[in-house]
C-alpha cells in the first residue's frame, strides 16, 4: 500500500515539477502510439467496412483470420519485426531497428486487426440497415464505404480508441524493436518495465499513473471533440 501512495506522490511530483525526462518519454509515447493509430486506422477502417459490404469467395476465412489476428502476441510481432529490420534481414538496409519508426511499425501490425475487426462488426449492422437504400441509389462500392464510414463514425471512433488503448499500453514488441534506449526510444511502458526491474516501484507506479491519465485524457478529448453522446446527434 505504501508503494501505491509513494507512486501517487511520485507521479504528482514528476508532473508539478515538469520533469524533462517524463515530458520527453510521454511525448514519445504519444508520438509513437498516435502515429501507429493514424496509420492503422487508415488501413483498418476502410478494410473493415469493405469486408462488411463485399461478398467474395474467402470472406469467411478472411474474417476468421482477422479475428484470430486480434490476439497476436506482441512479443512475437516484435520478434518478427526485429528479424525483418535487423542488419541481416530484408529491410536491414533501411536502418530502422531501435528507432521510433520500428516501434510504430510493430504497433501498426498489432492494432490493425483489432481496429479492422471492431469496424467490421459495427459496419455489418449498419450495412444491413442501409443495404437496400444504397443499392437502390445505384451507389458505387467506394460511395458505399464512404457513406458507412461517415454514418458509422461514432462506432469507428470506438474502434480506433480500442486500438489506441492497446498501442499506448503495449510493451513487449516495442521493447524488442525499440530497445528502450534513453532519449531515443524510451516510452512510458518500457520505462515502467525498466524501473520495476531496478526495484524503483514508486517511480514505476508514478509513470504508470501518468500513463493511465494520458490514456484517459486522450479518450475524453476525442469524445469531446467528436461530440459523441449529445442529444439528437448520431
Amino acid at each position: 500500500m505504501n508503494d501505491i501512495w509513494a507512486g501517487l506522490g511520485s507521479a504528482f511530483w514528476l508532473i508539478v515539477t515538469g520533469d524533462p525526462d517524463l515530458i520527453e518519454i510521454t511525448l514519445r509515447s504519444l508520438q509513437v502510439s498516435v502515429s501507429a493509430l493514424v496509420i492503422a486506422s487508415l488501413i483498418a477502417l476502410p478494410f473493415g467496412t469493405w469486408l462488411a459490404i463485399r461478398r467474395f469467395r474467402f470472406r469467411r476465412a478472411t474474417i476468421a483470420a482477422l479475428n484470430a489476428l486480434m490476439g497476436l502476441p506482441p512479443v512475437v510481432v516484435g520478434l518478427i519485426v526485429y528479424l525483418l529490420l535487423s542488419r541481416s534481414g530484408p529491410f536491414g538496409v533501411l536502418g530502422l531497428l531501435f528507432t521510433p519508426t520500428a516501434m510504430i511499425i510493430a504497433q501498426v501490425i498489432i492494432i490493425t486487426p483489432l481496429i479492422a475487426s471492431i469496424t467490421h462488426q459495427a459496419m455489418r449492422e449498419l450495412w444491413a440497415e442501409y443495404h437496400d437504400l444504397l443499392i437502390s441509389l445505384n451507389t458505387s462500392n467506394w460511395q458505399r464505404v464512404r457513406t458507412l464510414i461517415y454514418d458509422g463514425r461514432r462506432a469507428l471512433l470506438t474502434a480506433s480508441l480500442a486500438g489506441f488503448g492497446r498501442a499506448i499500453g503495449e510493451v513487449g514488441a516495442i521493447m524488442i524493436v525499440g530497445g528502450n534506449i534513453d532519449h531515443a526510444t524510451r516510452v512510458l511502458t518500457t520505462a515502467i518495465a525498466l524501473e520495476t526491474g531496478k526495484g524503483d516501484f514508486a517511480l514505476a507506479l508514478g509513470l504508470g499513473f501518468v500513463l493511465i491519465a494520458l490514456a484517459l485524457i486522450v479518450n475524453f478529448a476525442i469524445h469531446v471533440l467528436s461530440r459523441t453522446e449529445r442529444e439528437g446527434r448520431w
Binding site: E129, D132, L133, N138, R233, W234
Partner: protein, 235 residues
Amino acid sequence: MTLTAKLKDVCVKRQHKTILGPISYDLNPAGITIVLGPNGAGKTTFLKVLHGVERLSSGHMTWSVSDDEARASQAYVFQSPIMLRRTVRQNLAFPLQLVGMPKAQIAERVESWAQKIGLAQALEVSAPRLSGGEKQKLALARALIREPKVVFLDEPCANLDGRSTREIEALLIKANEAGTSIIMTTHHIGQAKRLAENVIFLLDGKIHDSDAAASFFTTSRTAEAGAFLAGDIVE
C-alpha cells in the same frame, strides 16, 4: 426517350420456393400504375425486379435503355423508410451529392423539397427521430429530389394515418404531373381507385390481370381480380 421494360419468363425463387413468376410482360410506365394484390402475392419482389435489385432465378428483364441509365433514372421508396443517420437536410442532399451536383444547387433543391413536405422547420433534426409519416414523406422527397423518370413505391402508406396518407398521395399526384411515372404497390383497393391510371393485379406471384384503371375496376377480366375487388379473401 421513354422508359419501357420487357420481362421474359421472369422467375424468382428462394429456397426452391417460387416467389414470383413466370412472368412475361411489357411494361410501359406512364402515369400512375398500381400493382395490386393480397399480402404475399409477390408485389414487392415484382417491384424490386423492375428496379433491378432482385436477382432473377430465370428469365430476363430489360429496359429500353442500358441498365445503368435505367437505374439512374429511377428511384425506390421502401415500405419501411430507411433513414440515413443524418439530419433531414443531409438525407435530402444525399442522392444529389452522389451524382456530384454543385453545393449551391443542392441547397436550393433541399430547401424547396423541405417546404413541399412540410419539414422546412425540421431541416437540422436527426431524421431517425421523425414520426412515421414524416419519415415516409422524407423518403419520398429523397426519391423525387433527383427528378427520376420512374419512381417505385412499395406500400408507402402502410401503417400511416389518414392525414399522412393524404399528404403522400398529394405528393405523388404532383410528382406525376411534373412528369415522373409512378409504379406503386398497395393492397388497399380504395387507394388504388384514388390514384391508379393503370392496374397490374398480382396473385400467387403471377400477373392475373392488367388493364387501365377505369376498365379494371368496372369489368375485371379474371375471376380472382373480381373476387379481390369484391372484398373476398383471395389466396
